[in-house]
């Protein structure tokens, strides 16, 4: 039986890597998740046959409780709310890694100091990932509205982390555990994850979720060493390194280092409030519609606001309408538009917008000067020209879409508020910019009506 179990884990590890590989190309992505799913099924079913196990009834109950809750919530959630669900499920994985470590620490029989160290490290990372992901979930779900910041926050966070690391070290060095030390260790680790995520603004959430995803992978790998389970080691490490790379790619797209995302209070600086020349000039939907109907080239720039307003289907309709009139329509996708890398691509794909109309930042920026209308829907910081022109701006240096270079810019926006970074957007005050105030979906609907008229 032992061999069958080991071979099953081997097959599972193979299927995970194979599945992820398939998922990395659009053509094979769909069966990729299926292969990985089979791997998971094989691994978890064979685990029931591990020798010396008890508590089967409770274990099955736990699987059903967690599985059904996740299945139901995953099926029910709207496509636009996917990012927070990933944060939520990721947090659960981190919590599970922490729970494994807690059980092992309570049992207290480790083969060597190395295993003990890995168990404690996994517990530390897993707990941070758990509470951090839960905060990320709460923020994206709108349960926590504002980034929470207070003076001396970084020092406070470092102190909390040192408490967690210190008690972790005590556990490793003493090699003998009392409940209270374990309790303080976990409490401090959980608190650190929470305080680490609280000050981070919504715009930086994709980077943070990706980081927590990588951390959970690492925690799973460490607990895999402790339990001597190769499938956990391999799957966890693969996710850990893949997630780290993805986090770097995302941070780079914002022209910021990871440290900068995590430790600088972005947009919180009270100093150097930007004064922007000019005023915001409103436009109504009919005029905006006419402008687009008689344009030659239109670029649509979607952002998080499009996701919130669920406007992607209306955008598709507008695109069809304009294409039928012979207008060239392109989509400009900023790498960090939305709350996840590729968030906009997923939403537009859901609305049937073909891939070949979506352009990356590098591909599209040269096209703006020849563009008649740039339609910005729910994007803000990613089109702020201050990133290019104003060295004092907190977002200075971040690559942006040069929408301001288009002949006309129409911005659909709910109100006059600032973006997630809290920075005033110079684009909105430009001479060639007109503001179309209102709900994204409703306004695009009115644009469609206007285009139909002419």
């Amino acid at each position: 039986m032992h061999n069958i179990i080991q071979i099953s884990y081997f097959i599972a590890a193979f299927l995970f890597i194979f599945g992820l590989k398939r998922m990395s190309s659009p053509l094979t992505a769909r069966d990729g998740i299926l292969w990985a799913g089979i791997g998971m099924l094989v691994a978890s079913l064979i685990t029931f046959f591990e020798p010396g196990m008890e508590n089967y009834l409770l274990m099955t109950t736990a699987i059903f409780v967690g599985g059904i809750a996740a299945f139901w919530s995953g099926k029910k959630v709207a496509m636009t709310d996917m990012p927070q669900m990933i944060a939520l499920y990721n947090g659960m994985g981190g919590g599970a890694a922490g729970a494994i470590a807690a059980v092992e620490l309570l049992k207290g029989d480790f083969h060597s100091q190395t295993f003990l160290t890995l168990a404690v490290l996994g517990a530390l990372i897993g707990s941070i990932s758990f509470s951090g992901s839960m905060v990320a979930f709460a923020k994206l779900q709108g349960l926590i509205r504002r980034p929470m910041r207070f003076p001396g926050q970084q020092l406070f966070n470092i102190a909390v982390f040192l408490v967690a690391a210190g008690f972790g070290a005590v556990l490793v060095i003493r090699g003998e555990f009392t409940g209270s030390i374990i309790l303080i260790f976990f409490a401090a680790a959980l608190a650190y994850g929470m305080f680490m995520a609280l000050p981070i603004g919504g715009a930086d959430m994709p980077v943070v979720i990706s980081l927590f995803n990588a951390l959970t992978g690492l925690a799973v790998a460490f607990e895999g060493f402790v339990l001597n389970n190769a499938a956990m080691i391999i799957a966890g490490t693969v996710v850990g390194s893949a997630g780290t790379l993805l986090t770097q790619l995302m941070a780079r797209a914002m022209n910021r280092s990871l440290g900068n995302v995590l430790f600088s209070s972005f947009g919180a600086s009270g100093g150097a409030e930007e004064s922007v020349e000019g005023s915001m000039k409103p436009i109504d939907a009919v005029d905006a519609g006419v402008m687009m109907a008689f344009a030659e080239r239109v670029i649509i720039i979607p952002g998080y606001g499009m996701a919130v307003a669920q406007a992607q289907h209306k955008i598709f309709e507008l695109m069809e309408m304009l294409l039928a009139r012979g207008v060239d329509v392109k989509f400009a996708i900023h790498p960090v538009a939305g709350r996840m890398p590729g968030h906009m691509n997923v939403l537009l794909a859901e609305a049937n917008v073909p891939y070949d109309r979506l352009y990356d930042l590098d591909e599209i920026n040269a096209a703006f000067p020849q563009t008649d209308v740039a339609l910005v829907i729910g994007a803000n910081d990613v089109v702020n020209p201050s990133a290019r022109t104003n060295p004092d701006s907190p977002i200075y240096g971040m690559p942006i879409l040069n929408a301001d270079q288009a002949k006309n810019v129409i911005v659909i926006k709910r109100g006059q508020g600032k973006g997630f970074s809290g920075v005033e957007n110079a684009l909105f005050f430009g001479d060639n910019t007109r503001m179309l105030y209102g709900d994204g979906q409703a306004m695009v609907g009115e644009l469609i009506e206007a285009v139909k008229e002419f």
């Binding site: 691994a43 599970a96 391999i234 893949a242 993805l246 890398p341």
Partner: protein
């Protein structure tokens, strides 16, 4: 039993594998792939089951129960969400 050095080799090779898989991915697949890798670390379910299966005291059992439930949520939720996301890629391909 995985020996110390073997474990280290597994760790290193797996790390490179993960790095290579993501390295050549188009931006449009970043979200599904992040979601997919989120599902893959749901393998923590296996560890949680083993830990719970060997629990003796009530406290160990309670923590083990929470661990298994969380891990099952990670695996099942991760799968459902990834599958739904990739589903859309299929439908949009047809319309091109």
């Amino acid at each position: 039993m995985i020996e110390g050095m073997t474990a280290l080799y597994i760790f290193m090779l797996s790390a490179f594998t993960g790095y290579e898989i993501i390295g050549r991915v188009p931006v449009i697949l970043h979200t599904p792939l992040m979601s997919g890798s989120n599902f893959v670390h749901g393998i923590v379910l296996v560890g949680a089951m083993v830990a719970m299966g060997h629990a003796h005291t009530t406290l160990e059992l309670v923590i083990g129960f929470i661990g298994v439930a969380l891990a099952a949520g990670n695996a099942v939720g991760g799968y459902v969400v990834t599958e739904r996301m990739l589903e859309m890629f299929k439908s949009s391909k047809g319309s091109n």
